[in-house]
């Protein structure tokens, strides 16, 4: 925390600190209410929650573990969605980190004629929201015969502009001597990247793994367009199918939504710093 000198005389520091602390705690609790509500909801009757909404007026006597029993014993699709999402997330994150760091290295370590042009393209891609691309991209992948595959969910986003931008910043801070030493030792340009540079990129990898991991885990719009077969559904797609007015699976909706948060929450509690660094990465001054 950057210490700033105070010239405060009017209010005693302890009183000011007390008011500030109370204010921050109240705002923090308000911010947590929706998550607490869904947690409490996992112990309530699903149809009741859908009918009456989430409430402060919880009937403590009616809480039960029925939903947990249902989730763990049900042969329904939930854990299939969970496994699909996990598989897709791991594969897509690994691919994104590899491809994007590879591209970023080219931008950071070499001088070449059209470099500025292509880097401006990276920045441009960063500022075009996916929503504008979704329709033509959807038509494109249908024509390419790639609809309903995991490949097409990941492929357009492996060279991710934000990730490239972040890695480039990181590589710019690596001493060029390492590279020169590699060249003197007769290592190829790609050998230098894979054997000398990648191993010292771990902090940047962690931040970007978290950012991309979260984006993949929560990815909704593109998979919604691409996926057709129920056995390929991911968590957000599957949960969305439970939210129909004619649903008979509302128990699974609430507890399923809650369980989909757990992996992300655990990672957040374990790696708070890397999370915040990763998600605020875009604001790094260029």
């Amino acid at each position: 925390m950057a210490a700033q000198p105070t010239a405060r005389r009017s209010i005693a520091p302890s009183t000011a600190a007390w008011i500030q602390g109370a204010f921050l705690v109240v705002i923090a609790l308000i911010s947590l209410v929706p998550l607490l509500a869904i947690f409490v909801g996992t112990f309530q009757d699903g149809n009741e929650v859908i009918r009456r909404g989430m409430t402060f007026d919880v009937d403590l006597g009616a809480l039960s573990l029925d939903n947990y029993v249902l989730l763990l014993t049900d042969s329904g699709p939930y854990f299939r969605w969970f496994a699909n999402t996990l598989l897709l997330t791991v594969a897509q994150v690994a691919g994104t980190l590899l491809v994007s760091s590879f591209v970023a290295y080219g931008f950071a370590m070499y001088e070449f004629r059209t470099k500025t042009l292509w880097f401006v393209m990276v920045l441009l891609v960063m500022t075009v929201p996916f929503e504008m691309l979704m329709l033509p991209l959807y038509v494109q992948v249908n024509d390419m015969g790639l609809a309903d595959t995991y490949t097409v969910i990941a492929l357009p986003f492996l060279a991710s502009a934000v990730t490239i931008f972040f890695f480039r910043q990181y590589f710019l801070g690596i001493p060029k001597e390492i590279i020169e030493a590699g060249r003197v030792d007769g290592v190829s340009e790609f050998g230098i990247f894979f054997r000398l540079v990648l191993p010292i990129t771990r902090p940047a990898m962690a931040a970007m793994a978290i950012l991309n991991g979260m984006l993949c885990w929560n990815n909704f719009l593109w998979p919604l367009l691409v996926l057709r077969s129920p056995e390929k559904f991911t968590l957000p797609i599957g949960l969305n199918t439970l939210l129909t007015p004619y649903g008979n699976n509302y128990e699974l909706l609430i507890i399923g939504a809650f369980f989909s948060l757990i992996p992300v929450l655990i990672l957040f509690l374990a790696f708070q710093r890397a999370f915040i660094e990763g998600i605020t990465a875009g604001a790094v001054k260029g």
């Binding site: 911010s31 691309l133 033509p136 957000p236």
Partner: protein, 298 residues
């Protein structure tokens, strides 16, 4: 092959090749097709050139104007909420009074909502803003002597729910952006100012704000395009792309309806082109007005 691996001239192009291929296959070609399709009537895979026909249809389409109005309104209101509030919270957390523990708890609690998917956020907020008088938001307004309100049935209260989702999910992230900017300001600036007799408020206006301007510009830019391209929040809140009198319909929602649901690709492409032009115009004018390009040229 060996020459290829060792060539310093060729290496950079090989490194950036994956990006160039992605750019060509998944950006330039689809966007180009989008422009072409917007001048066509596409029916069952048969494309007929109709010039500006789709744009004329768009001009006279009341629902399109409503969707554009909804998107613009949402964008402006998210800007009004999601810049000043996170800025004030960041200033509060960055001040040298107060316990570091409480601030840590506060930052974590504000940040957690950004981890939720739009699906989960939509489900929870749909249930918080439910119609029954025992739903959370109705209990809150009842406490102040109003309600119960049928939130998602009318335009303005539905908008409140949408803004609540945006504020809940993004206030913490924007606060973190501003906080990172504030912590990069050298403390000497504040020392000098307080020697000159500037109080806290004047220090905030004359030192903090000018020094975090790049961060503010960044947050405003992403809020403009994020606001204008909003779709999923509404899609989840209303449990689908249909809301009463299209009150939750945005430009992207309309694009989705026309292009994906009704397969009217030519017309939907025209919607997409208009949206792209609006977003780019707004963002570029904002960046010019804020002097961002000037600084980079210098």
């Amino acid at each position: 092959m060996k020459q290829l691996l060792y060539s310093k001239k060729l290496a950079p192009y090989l490194f950036i090749l994956p990006f160039l291929v992605t750019l060509a296959v998944f950006w330039v070609v689809p966007l180009g097709r989008s422009f072409v399709m917007s001048t066509q009537e596409v029916l069952y895979g048969q494309a007929t050139f109709i010039g500006l026909g789709n744009y004329e249809r768009l001009w006279g389409d009341r629902i399109f104007w409503q969707a554009l109005f909804n998107s613009l309104r949402y964008m402006v209101l998210t800007l009004v909420l999601l810049v000043p509030i996170p800025l004030a919270l960041a200033a509060l957390v960055n001040s040298n009074i107060g316990s570091a523990r409480i601030k840590g708890f506060f930052k974590a609690s504000m940040f957690v909502p950004a981890l939720t998917s739009v699906v989960v956020a939509g489900i929870v907020f749909r249930l918080i803003f439910a119609e029954s008088d025992s739903a959370m938001m109705n209990q809150v307004v009842e406490f102040f002597g109003f309600g119960p309100v049928r939130w998602l049935r009318s335009d303005l209260t539905g908008l409140v729910a949408l803004l609540a989702i945006a504020l809940w999910r993004w206030a913490g992230v924007n606060m973190m952006y501003f906080l990172a900017g504030m912590q990069a300001i050298p403390t000497e600036y504040y020392e000098a100012a307080s020697i000159d007799g500037a109080n806290k408020f004047r220090q905030f206006i004359h030192i903090t704000i000018p020094n975090i301007k790049p961060t503010v510009v960044y947050v405003v830019t992403i809020s403009i395009y994020g606001g204008l391209s909003m779709f999923l929040e509404s899609f989840m809140l209303y449990a689908g792309n249909n809301s009463p009198n299209n009150q939750g319909l945005t430009v992207v929602g309309y694009l989705y309806r026309k292009g994906i649901e009704e397969n009217d690709l030519g017309f939907a492409s025209a919607v997409g082109v208009v949206l792209l032009v609006v977003v780019m115009t707004l963002n570029i004018s904002y960046l010019v007005a804020s002097g961002t390009f000037k600084k980079e040229a210098a």
